[in-house]
């Protein structure tokens, strides 16, 4: 970190809904404790001041245009520490859904006869374009992980995202498994770190934090097929968040 009383923090956004930044703002009192430790110099969603000098950059959103590549590279060069904030920035999230189509097709679907005014490239997470030092997963970004990553950065420690499925946090909280209610849950293959927030409120996990390192997708396919889902529906379930890299589910494993 550069010699500076407090490290300077900037927030940037690429293609996304900016929900992750909003989520960070909702930290409220904890945020006040955090700004004791850092100076926030750029944060379009939260303040009007901005600066081109910063040490730590939290970057939200996916890369979807050539110009984005230049911009993220510039941020990478400027910042000592680059953090991908949230699912769009870390695993591509919904943005990467468009990669199933040709770019020409999506331009015309969205912009009709003005399509040639715009340029687009297949959507990819920031992590696929420049090296990142830390990742925060989740859509929106999981706050417990954001705070943990923040502390790790300031202490100069490496952070490894947990390689355990959501089921672990879900079980530690003594939740009733939503399968007992006939709901289908991607918790067994999804990386935890959100404190199983969805299943704790009785919803299924949709996999917004991405897959664990070695997910047993065959098992997932068998289980979902047993509940009557076709291969297409199973792929669709995974694709809500997990499109990067392209998932390959083996058709042979399903009879649905």
């Amino acid at each position: 970190m550069k010699t500076q009383a407090k490290p300077r923090v900037a927030f940037f956004d690429f293609a996304c809904c900016e929900g992750c930044q909003l989520e960070v703002l909702s930290l409220e009192e904890q945020l006040l404790e955090m700004i004791e430790l850092v100076d926030i110099v750029t944060w379009r969603e939260a303040m009007s001041e901005k600066s081109d000098e910063y040490d730590i950059a939290f970057c939200e959103g996916s890369i979807t245009r050539e110009a984005d590549i230049e911009r993220i590279k510039h941020i990478r060069e400027t910042a000592d520490i680059l953090v991908s904030l949230g699912a769009c920035a870390t695993i591509g999230c919904h943005n990467a859904l468009k990669n199933q189509f040709s770019m020409d097709e999506v331009l015309h679907i969205v912009y009709g006869d003005r399509a040639e005014w715009f340029d687009t490239i297949s959507a990819r997470p920031i992590t696929a374009v420049v090296p990142v030092d830390y990742q925060v997963n989740g859509c929106p970004a999981s706050l417990p992980e954001f705070v943990t990553v923040f502390k790790h950065i300031l202490m100069g420690k490496e952070y490894k995202p947990p390689n355990q499925p959501v089921c672990v946090e879900c079980k530690l909280k003594d939740n009733l498994c939503v399968y007992e209610k006939g709901m289908l849950c991607l918790g067994p293959v999804t990386r935890c770190g959100c404190d199983a927030i969805c299943t704790s409120y009785g919803h299924a996990c949709f996999g917004c934090r991405g897959l664990v390192d070695d997910p047993n997708l065959n098992a997932a396919q068998d289980v979902l097929a047993k509940y009557g889902l076709s291969v297409e529906e199973i792929v669709g379930k995974f694709r809500v968040y997990n499109n990067w890299p392209e998932l390959s589910l083996e058709e042979s494993h399903s009879d649905g």
Partner: protein, 350 residues
């Protein structure tokens, strides 16, 4: 040990008294999902359900919490390192025989070798345990592991009968708990009711091992079962649910959680599971059980071979929670019987 009969109203009053005297944990029905039960602190005797189907997590959570901060520290001031204060004594109500057996097994394991002071201190706060007999569901396998009549460290044990409960007073503490509750002498009819309950319970257990636990341990020790393990591993998520819900699993991890002042923090112990891929990962990147099938095998070996050899009883109390919890429908009894059948086929073929 003595026996007596306590009527329903009288037991209700006794439970209410215990709750008023101090914290009491017992099985409650989930408000959002009737028909499902969990152990929790009770506010009133009305919340306690004694004829419940097995809970999601076992009662060990009362004295071995899933996530337990146990030490506060300061990175800059060693004088500020201190053990986090224990809360006071509590009682545990409505514990099934399998879970009573499991508490006994945890006590054995945590006292053996290097005793776990934290665990034992929390157990010492568990000042009374009241057990209750139960009806099995299709996952319960207590008769295969010999726990259907286990009493473990129960001070009182209740069997539902016509007149209320037949109460086994197993310890002086149990007698003390009863206090001045009306204790009726058990009649021949009460004892016949009790015997009938036990016979019927035995009859209703449908999930059964095809061999005794001793032969099963021999089969596991002989090995050569990789094909079966791999078949199970194909279906297994390595999600850890089966061991996280197991009343006899005792593995944990320890992590430090630093506060936002970046100076003070807490050391936390959290339940861990041998089914998770990083469980046996050590410095240098070597993983002793990197393959899924090795982790599946470890779960069976741990329960039915290693600890069986060490303590002379399987470290499975037949509660069936692992099978209930598995979203991939990997069933303890079915897999065990597949292993047994496979081993028997192999021996015949030799």
């Amino acid at each position: 040990m003595s026996i007596c009969v306590v009527e329903h109203d009288e037991l209700h009053a006794l439970v209410q008294r215990l709750i008023q005297q101090g914290p009491a944990m017992g099985p409650r029905e989930r408000q959002q999902q009737p028909g499902f039960y969990y152990f929790d602190w009770l506010n009133s005797a009305d919340e306690l359900v004694l004829d419940y189907v097995t809970t999601t997590l076992p009662p060990k959570k009362a004295f071995f919490p899933p996530r337990e901060p146990f030490l506060e520290f300061s990175r800059t001031d060693p004088a500020k390192v201190r053990s986090m204060t224990d809360e006071g004594p509590f009682v545990l109500l409505g514990v099934h025989p399998c879970d009573l057996a499991a508490i006994e097994q945890l006590d054995i394991a945590y006292s053996d070798n290097i005793a776990d002071g934290r665990y034992l201190a929390n157990r010492a706060r568990t000042t009374a345990i009241i057990g209750v007999d139960c009806w099995p569901d299709e996952y319960c396998l207590c008769t295969s592991v010999g726990t259907e009549q286990a009493r473990g460290s129960a001070d009182l044990f209740l069997t539902p009968i016509q007149r209320g409960y037949l109460v086994e007073v197993r310890t002086p503490r149990g007698q003390e708990l009863l206090g001045d509750s009306a204790q009726l002498p058990a009649t021949d009819q009460d004892e016949a009711d009790t015997a009938q309950f036990r016979r019927e319970k035995q009859r209703r257990v449908t999930a059964k091992f095809a061999t005794g636990v001793e032969q099963f341990a021999d089969i596991l020790a002989a090995g050569g079962l990789t094909e079966v393990w791999q078949e199970v591993a194909d279906r297994c998520y390595s999600c850890g649910s089966c061991s996280l819900v197991c009343p006899t699993c005792f593995c944990f991890d320890i992590n430090d959680d630093i506060n936002l002042d970046l100076t003070t923090g807490a050391r936390i112990r959290t339940w861990d599971s041998c089914q998770l891929p990083d469980f046996a990962l050590v410095a240098g990147g070597h993983n002793f059980r990197g393959e899924r099938w090795e982790r599946v095998r470890h779960r069976w070996h741990r329960k039915f071979l290693y600890l069986y050899t060490q303590y002379g009883r399987p470290f499975c109390t037949g509660c069936g929670r692992c099978s209930r919890a598995c979203t991939a429908d990997i069933n303890l009894v079915e897999v065990s019987n597949d292993l047994i059948a496979y081993a028997q086929r192999e021996t015949q073929n030799v």
